[in-house]
Symmetry: D2
Subunit: 131 residues, 4 copies
């Protein structure tokens, strides 16, 4: 099972008026995790662009368990979920560094597009090779 | 069925290097829709705070159908989904103003917390009354 | 004197843990004002792109007078400041809608670049014509 | 001269449709620098809150020299500028890690407020002591 663990610090600007991380910012943490995974395993945006393919997110979800606050440090664990379809699926676990508490979980699905925005129904060669 | 429709213009800063709205920004559009709903039906953050209750998001998901680009205007349709549990559930439809095309759909779930962060297992009185 | 006035509502996600609009978000308001000006007077990003020119910000400043809070509605007044140099200069005044109170002022400077990122030392023809 | 150097990686969501870091995000980098400084020298937000004082930004400016792009790593150097007034002034230099190139410079000014939002005309005791 391919996984990556990325460490992140909560930024002041990420906290809302309830003094907790604004929920939309977890999608940034997921993206940080995904990109860290991509750097480690050669599947980052820049790498994929080089093959003339775009991989937009088509589906994302997040379950918020406990609130992160300013000053917290966190880990995003990004797990690659193999699938037959022409898709890239990741699962994420966000945990608090100081005690390992799980703060949020989620997943994302990406598809393959040509630079003109056409959907690829079969995985491009570079990705099949990568798998 | 209680619904609200909010009009939004895509900001330049919301578009990413693929020249489409960065996917995380849809959660802002959902929030704009939710707050517009709240203003219309007295269920906004400020209204709820007045009753000494917080309503953090505990679950959110989004399906991205077509990309919004800079210059687009959009509608967020926010629909209140009644539920027995001590939760607030909304569904969202993001459509492009110029042709009515559906760009994204999603939903969110909120729970009730005391200011100290304790979960309320039963809906607070003001919400039961509101329903 | 060319000016534009754009109305904006403060978003929940724009407020920080001090319950005021996070200071960096004023640059979004300035940008909204600048783009509204551009739409009115044919000097928006999309219009300029059409002439194969980029106009990145090279200088920005902001003075914060009073804090905006969630629920506030505001106006951004964007004023075009003519200059001899190959630059575009705007001044901004952010005021609170309900009482006209001035909340912030600022300015920005943009230059002209080729798509390859080279600085144009003279204003491009379309801009000289526009002036 | 008190200074701090903070390392930051450009996030995908920070890049705009010109494929460069959106200019407003530099204020996040400055804030990251300021908070890193604060952690090192006991002048961070959380530390200051503990003394029942708020230190909002009242002035900020930024000069953009060269564009940061996705994949770049950068340093924010934050320099404390002593002043007689009841203010906190910082200067920032953002440089690219790989070649030391200076990408942006800027400064910020903060004042002292009571929790009720009243301006303190004299520096609070904890800050005089800190200096």
């Amino acid at each position: 099972m391919l996984t990556d663990r990325k460490e992140i610090s909560v930024r002041f600007s990420e906290v809302d008026s309830m003094k907790i991380v604004w929920h939309g910012n977890y999608l940034k943490y997921f993206e940080d995790g995904r990109e860290s995974f991509g750097l480690r395993y050669n599947l980052g945006y820049l790498e994929v662009y080089r093959h003339n393919v775009m991989i937009p997110i088509v589906k994302v979800n997040c379950d918020f368990k406990k609130p992160l606050v300013y000053g917290d440090e966190l880990f995003v664990e990004t797990k690659y979920i193999p699938t037959e379809a022409a898709k890239i699926v990741f699962e994420y676990v966000v945990s608090r560094k100081k005690d390992g508490e799980i703060m949020a979980t989620g997943s994302s699905t990406q598809v393959f597009l040509t630079p003109e925005g056409e959907l690829l129904l079969n995985s491009p060669a570079f990705y099949t090779g990568w798998k």
